[in-house]
Amino acid sequence: MIRVAAVGDVHVDADVLGRFRPALASLAEQADVLLLAGDLTRHGSAAEAECVALEFGDLAVPVLAVLGNHDHHCDEPDRVIGILTDAGITVLEGTGTVVNCDGGRLGVAGVKGFGGGFTGRCATAFGEPEMKAFVRTTEASAQSLHEALTKLDCDVRVALTHYSPVPDTLVGEPPEIFPFLGSYLLGQAIDDGGADLAVHGHAHMGSERGRTPGGVRVRNVAHPVIRQAYAVFHVG
């Protein structure tokens, strides 16, 4: 059994510094790894990334992250990634990594993901170039997630995204905005990539639990959904 802690949408800035540290001090007693499911900052500025590095760096367990839409607002995601990486946080985007845990090898593949909606109510790459670009962004993200998942050599395989792969975990959000919260293409990549668990954030008013059409368990760990410092899953 592998112990996975996860939280998303922590939106760290200077006013949040130190809030999570007391709970994180005992993290190693509860988990083998911490996953951060995007929206680590408010606007994706370098100063906020430094705050994330202080808040979630130097922990007793490996920290793996994906960025979210907030982390792109300042148009300098590479700078954010650099600061987090320097703090020892592994940022995944179409990539994966394997962590050796007492309970086995945990493989995590991550992408930010993007929107588009879900089966029967999804956007299509047709018409204006802006619409085609929107859908193709999600297609490319899902493809890179699938490739990263299939490359993992591990005992337990986890998909980490910011956007949701299923509508189940969006229940509670207005249905009109589901296409801005996730895409079935991510779910398809998770099913085809053989994941054992999918973890995402983004949907603050969504629900905690869902599953893909292929039966992969999905957990929405957005901080406003789990309402604690992090959730812990015992996988396997």
Partner: protein, 94 residues
């Protein structure tokens, strides 16, 4: 401006004003010019800033601030997740 347009305007202000940047705040403007704010934020400063910003946009309105500052307590339980497909019957919703 109709209340629906005020709702939409305020939600865009709370998202697009970089000093706020909150996309998860629900804004409800009533016919009695009472504005109810709800949602979750990471600090008491952000809760106050949201109320002040809405007050700047709608002077004279009464603001009911129901925004909650999120807990950062550690979890007191873990969820056991077996590997293999989740059963269809237990469509896993809260």
């Amino acid at each position: 401006m109709s209340h629906e347009y005020t709702d939409a305007h305020l939600q865009r202000v709370l998202a697009e004003d970089v000093s706020i940047a909150e996309l998860g705040i629900d804004v409800s403007v009533g016919h009695d010019d009472v504005i109810v704010l709800s949602g979750h934020v990471e600090s008491a400063e952000r809760r106050r800033a949201i109320e002040e910003r809405v007050g700047q946009e709608c002077p004279g309105c009464r603001i009911v601030n129901e925004v909650i500052v999120l807990s950062v307590d550690p979890p007191n339980r873990a969820e056991a997740l077996p590997t293999g497909p989740a059963p269809q019957a237990s469509r896993e919703r809260m």
